[in-house]
């Protein structure tokens, strides 16, 4: 499949400069927070004694902060590619270790949200696409747009109040057991569900207008069968293209959700590091988030031809 090979290569070529630009951005953000040399120099000294300028300069030179920006960037990048993202200014632990410890919890949360999203968005889109009449389509639209309009931090407290405090169905905070995942996952899923439902719905409506749907009807297929068998696959294509930004919004939402529900994770890490100007951690987190999104987009791009066969064989659509 020569066509696929070329397509894959071209996608990869596009991703590489993005990754570079991204890593540079991460680096610059961190180092712009100032030169931590004085802080580091005073780390080894008792609190009352201030480091001398020579000591600060020594630290600066040792850690390479007196070199030009690009050189520093290169050194950081090469070390990062080997898995070394430096040490947190806050905890003095390795940044890579901290990230690695925090990742599973966030991934768990994200996957649960995705599950909820799929389970809710698909039926919602189907209902929205099928109904005619005066009121039901409006209600569906209202539900969908509400999901996109409610701030995560507010939804979280609403859900906590109703389900944990009043109904005692789930624990308020904590990370143990699947029950404690329910509210955080639903909170995080609200926005992506709304967006996907909206997009899928309008895509379905478009697809149902296509000629091949008429042919399917002409063959005697029932409506539901047409929706699921013919329309869904074609309608899902535009949704694929926004999956990357869905992932990005999941990562963002995790910051708030982890804070409110007391979960440890990448979001938490970001918040702490930004709050305390822990620049190596900030660099690490931004880099991670960006790389994850870029790689995910790349994966979607490479997966696309498998689903849309017209691209696979280089045909004009």
């Amino acid at each position: 499949m020569r066509g696929t090979g070329r397509y894959a290569v071209s996608r990869l070529l596009l991703a590489v400069p993005t990754l570079f630009g991204l890593s540079f951005l991460s680096f610059v953000l961190g180092s712009a927070s100032g030169d931590p040399s004085s802080k580091l120099a005073s780390a080894g000294l008792p609190p009352e004694i201030l480091p001398t300028p020579e000591q600060i300069d020594a630290v600066r030179h040792r850690l390479g902060f007196d070199k030009p920006l690009l050189v520093q960037y290169w050194r950081w990048l090469t070390k990062a590619l080997h898995g070394d993202l430096g040490r947190s200014l806050l905890t003095h632990r390795g940044v890579t270790d901290a990230i690695r410890d925090a990742l599973p919890s966030t991934i768990e949360l994200a996957l649960s949200s995705v599950l909820i999203m799929v389970v809710l968005a698909v039926p919602l889109a189907l209902i929205g696409a099928r109904t005619r009449g005066r009121w039901l389509p409006q209600i569906v639209r209202l539900v969908e747009l509400s999901g996109a309009s409610i701030p995560g931090f507010f939804l979280a407290y609403l859900l906590i109040y109703v389900f944990a405090v009043k109904l005692h169905l789930v624990p308020v905070v904590g990370q143990s057991g699947w029950k404690s995942m329910v509210l955080p996952a639903f909170t995080l899923a609200a926005l992506p569900t709304a967006l996907v439902a909206r997009l899928l719905q309008s895509s379905l409506v478009e697809v149902m207008r296509e000629d091949y749907v008429r042919t399917a009807r002409g063959k005697g297929l029932a409506d539901l069968r047409i929706y699921l068998g013919h329309a869904m696959r074609n309608a899902a294509l535009p949704v694929l293209t926004v999956l990357g930004s869905i992932l990005a919004s999941l990562i963002e939402g995790a910051v708030v959700v982890e804070l409110i529900f007391g979960r440890s994770g990448i979001g938490n890490l970001t918040l702490e590091s930004a709050g305390s100007s822990d620049y190596p951690m900030m660099q690490g987190v931004v880099l991670l988030a960006g790389v994850v999104v870029v790689l995910f987009n790349l994966a979607v791009d490479l997966l696309y031809p498998i689903i849309d066969v017209r691209v696979r064989l280089g045909a004009r659509s």
Partner: protein, 286 residues
């Protein structure tokens, strides 16, 4: 030829009629007006100074003097909501406008110029869109310091890619059309073509996109303020007010509910209105 007895309708009449036929669109418009109107008139409507602290009367319920009660420091909630809302909404509008201008400019630039400039813009779009905006905003504000002007700057610098993509695509497809070519042949400068031909054609999709962005940006600003990266206390802002109210969750949940509902209503209004606009502008075939 017979027919044509119908008088020519005004260009804008048909979209308006389509808009009015959708209840949710109208509801959206009304919501926006009703919820934001008092905000403009904050200084007249507010019963109190939002900064005045009155500890003996803290966490009071609804009363004549304080229609929405008082917060943890005894400040009048209604006043804080009004002034805070004005801040939130104004910030949102300013940022949205900035993003629109930057995005449209870059989109037309990339579409009209092509070549290296186009590639650069596309690459920039790719990079900026890769990192979740909340995370980069937090980190950037950590570097620059909190405060509303920093907030505006950060979001404006990060939020334009969507506009640029849409406008660039529209510009490229417009360029393909014959009449642009004939303008070039006649000697019109690129700038002239851009202004006279491209811009009028992108007005509608850009308006829809920006309206829909209002909700997204309001949510972003509130979230950043909630997390402590936005407006600095004691300045009222809906997001940070909700954050302050967290410790009173069990005692006075209304302190959380009121700002939350307010944000929700404005965002919902903007989204409904934007969707209504989109449907109204789209020509519907039988």
């Amino acid at each position: 030829m017979s027919g044509g007895r119908r008088r020519r309708e005004h260009e804008g009449a048909r979209p308006l009629r389509r808009f009015l036929r959708e209840p949710t669109a109208v509801v959206g418009a009304l919501l926006l007006i009703v919820v934001t109107f008092p905000l403009y008139a904050a200084s007249w409507v507010a019963p109190d100074d939002p900064y005045v602290v009155d500890v003996p009367h803290r966490l009071a319920g609804f009363s004549r003097a304080h229609p929405l009660g008082t917060d943890g420091l005894g400040r009048d909630m209604l006043s804080r909501m009004l002034y805070g809302g004005r801040k939130s909404v104004l910030l949102t509008l300013v940022v949205t406008l900035l993003i629109t201008f930057v995005g449209v400019f870059l989109g037309i630039l990339a579409g009209m110029r092509g070549g290296i400039i186009d590639r650069l813009v596309v690459q920039l779009v790719d990079i900026v869109q890769s990192v979740p905006i909340v995370i980069v905003s937090m980190v950037t504000i950590a570097v620059l310091g909190a405060g509303t002007s920093k907030l505006i700057f950060v979001i404006a610098v990060l939020g334009w890619p969507r506009h640029t993509r849409v406008v660039r695509a529209a510009t490229l497809s417009l360029r393909e059309r014959q009449f642009i070519e004939s303008c070039r042949v006649l000697g019109a400068s690129r700038l002239r073509i851009a202004l006279r031909h491209v811009v009028p054609n992108i007005v509608r999709p850009v308006v829809v996109l920006s309206t829909l962005d209002v909700g997204r940006i309001l949510l972003l600003i509130s979230t950043l303020s909630f997390l402590g990266f936005g407006a600095r206390p004691p300045a009222p802002e809906w997001g940070s007010m909700l954050a302050d109210a967290r410790r009173y969750f069990f005692v006075a949940p209304r302190l959380l509910i009121i700002p939350g509902v307010a944000i929700f209503l404005v965002a919902l209004g903007a989204n409904l209105f934007g969707e209504g606009l989109r449907d109204a502008f789209e020509a519907r075939t039988g």
